[in-house]
């Protein structure tokens, strides 16, 4: 067998003691996390898009364009989680409360209507084969609208982000019919932001920054350390002997490699394709606008960090440890 590439394309803390409590402090809640699978599968979701701010631990506040459920609905961190069964017909309603245009895309699955600011719309699609899918906005035309050049055209997101889980028709806790089984699951959606571009991405009428896009703020599920490990939906957790499915997804521009302390994981699928090459890994490549599903078999108790190994992603504007740092909690 010959191939040109494998892996990627298909594939703290000492000096800032005041924040360290957050790493362990959130674990009481995390211990209770369970499978997301119990949620009922609706056939219609209603989301709104609107500006939302997030304040990082050192006080930096950034404005994102975010999706949120209009009523109820599951969350991962602060982001919507959508779930339904493969083959099911579903409808997605969007109320665009942003000042500018928005067009949603379920990557590789469906493209929504182009909406002006203040406009609402809907689209329907058939749930794809069981797996993990990214909901974001279609590549925008603001490069021409704002004269921002190629850098914006390749920027994947200003914060429009959600995850769609397609459940297997078997109804079982397995990744796909007959696929890897699991006892619990966690979804981790990675994003990055360049504060110099942040305002422009939210408002394409603003003049472009002079610098290329280079992210300096990092979130998972819309949160950064220490908020991240304090949210039980952002902490893979379980008991010894359990199999924990972790759905890794990346809407950042950075191509990540995610390191698991304490465990090797089985790479089950990359971009929803069953993995046939990689065996167990402790550091897993995660492409931009891609997904990787892994199974962690809990074989020892403890609290173990989980973070990217491009370590600037574990900072907030350079200060460590912030950003995309969460933990695994096994009891």
């Amino acid at each position: 067998m010959t191939q040109d590439r494998i892996s990627p394309t298909r594939g703290v803390l000492a000096t800032r003691r005041g924040l360290i409590g957050g790493l362990v402090g959130g674990l009481g809640a995390a211990a209770g996390v369970s499978s997301l699978h119990a949620a009922p599968a609706p056939s219609t979701w209603s989301l709104r898009a609107l500006p939302r701010t997030y304040t990082f631990a050192l006080g930096d506040t950034l404005t994102y364009s975010r999706l949120e459920h209009i009523a109820g609905g599951s969350l991962i961190g602060s982001l919507p989680l959508l779930e339904a069964t493969e083959g099911q017909s579903v409808q997605l309603d969007i109320d665009n409360q942003l000042t500018g245009p928005l067009r949603l895309e379920v990557i590789g699955v469906a493209l929504g209507p182009a909406l002006r600011g203040g406009q609402s719309g809907s689209f329907t699609f058939t749930m794809p084969p069981a797996g993990t899918y990214l909901v974001t906005e279609a590549r925008r035309g603001i490069a021409s609208a704002g004269g921002l050049g190629a850098a914006v055209a390749t920027h994947p997101s200003r914060g429009i982000a959600a995850v769609l889980i397609s459940r297997p028709s078997s109804g079982l806790n397995e990744l796909w019919n007959g696929g890897p089984a699991f006892d619990r699951e966690t979804v981790l959606l990675y994003e990055d932001t360049d504060d110099r571009w942040n305002a422009v991405l939210a408002d394409p009428t603003l003049p472009p920054p002079q610098a290329p896009y280079e992210p300096n703020f990092f979130t998972v599920n819309g949160l950064a350390y220490p908020d991240l490990p304090a949210d039980p939906t952002c902490v893979p957790a379980g008991q010894v002997g359990e199999r924990i499915l972790i759905r890794l997804a990346n809407l950042g521009r950075m191509r990540q490699s995610i390191h698991f302390h304490g465990f090797h994981v089985d790479v089950a699928a990359r971009n929803n394709q069953p993995e046939a090459i990689l065996g167990q890994k402790d550091t897993v490549g995660l492409p931009s606008r891609g997904t990787v599903d892994v199974i962690l078999t809990a074989n020892q108790v403890g609290v173990y960090p989980l973070h990217p190994h491009s370590l600037t992603a574990v900072t907030a504007n350079g200060y460590y440890p912030f950003g995309q740092l969460t933990v695994i909690n096994i009891t």
């Binding site: 790493l23 950075m254 304490g262 046939a276 890994k281 020892q300 173990y304 460590y320 440890p321």
Partner: protein, 298 residues
């Protein structure tokens, strides 16, 4: 064996030091590093340079003691990346402990599956790692063999470890992460701490192997950039990653690996000659930021 095979055992001594240097052009960059053994000042890697740090070769299934003396004016730890140690020995200050300046500790763990791993400091990691505080951990099979990758795995005649490193030289005068470490702009591209002609000729980096023989190359991406590995178009076999065999070994002409990942490859030349192994460091769009090469001498 290019320096490998000389540090196999069950007990190791590492000490951190803040006073290494790496000369790049007219600059002498400050390197923080781990030295192995003895009471003298010591230096890293194979005992001949500060970057990367010293390597160790524990034996699979054995209880390993790793004595650490922090001979630096700041806290440090040793995180055993990929060795799946327990929480107490994980080397992360918030979940285990930090070793104070001039303090000592002993980490204890059972060496896992034979393969390629690494260790590094996990204090203010974004900076301590970038300044050089990492070294290779090569777990030998239970037999202690230095010519078999794992029990029943590939055997080899030659063995080399490649640390892939990129440096942002502006970071090397810093003592703590700050707004100055918000963005990493690599301007030096290394293999085993060497660049240019030195990388091509380096005893511990170039691969010297005969026709019909097998070289086993352990590749550790200890940079903050993705990297592409190619061997002048020569096909090679990827057999393991992160200390575990692949489900299916694959023959490739190039592959890419991310920060913190390790891949083990077999080089089995069929004709004599000298070719170049090339490492291209990539940005997030796959564009080449910089490259380094070493020789494969058959």
């Amino acid at each position: 064996m290019a320096g490998l095979g000389n540090n196999v055992g069950t007990s190791f001594d590492l000490r951190s030091r803040p006073n290494g240097t790496l000369t790049v052009g007219s600059q002498n960059l400050e390197i923080w590093y781990f030295a192995e053994g003895g009471m003298g000042p010591g230096i890293g890697f194979m005992g001949d340079r500060y970057l990367p740090s010293a390597h160790i070769e524990p034996i699979e299934g054995q209880v390993i003691t790793l004595n650490f003396d922090n001979m630096s004016p700041m806290e440090h730890t040793i995180h055993l990346h990929g060795l799946d140690v327990d929480q107490a020995n994980d080397g992360v200050p918030s979940t285990s402990f930090a070793v104070p300046p001039m303090g000592s500790t002993t980490y204890t763990f059972t060496a896992p599956h034979a393969g390629t791993y690494h260790y590094h400091c996990h204090v203010d990691t974004v900076l301590h790692y970038a300044k050089g505080m990492y070294g290779a951990v090569i777990v030998r099979p239970p037999s202690g063999s230095t010519s078999e990758a794992w029990t029943g795995g590939p055997t080899f005649d030659e063995e080399v470890v490649w640390h892939l490193s990129t440096l942002d030289t502006s970071w090397h005068s810093l003592d703590a992460s700050s707004a100055q470490t918000a963005r990493f702009h690599p301007d030096v591209f290394l293999i085993n701490g060497k660049k240019g002609a030195a990388a091509k000729q380096d005893t511990y980096t170039k691969v010297v192997v005969g026709v019909g023989q097998t070289a086993y190359v352990r590749i550790l991406n200890t940079s903050y950039n993705w990297a592409r590995v190619s061997l002048d178009g020569m096909p090679f076999q990827v057999v393991a990653s992160d200390g575990r065999p692949l489900q299916t070994p694959v023959k490739v002409r190039s592959f890419e690996l991310g920060p913190g990942e390790r891949y083990d490859i077999l080089v089995q030349p069929t004709s004599t000659g000298t070719s170049l192994a090339r490492i291209d460091y990539l940005d997030d769009f796959g564009q080449v930021l910089g490259s380094v090469a070493t020789r494969i001498v058959v």
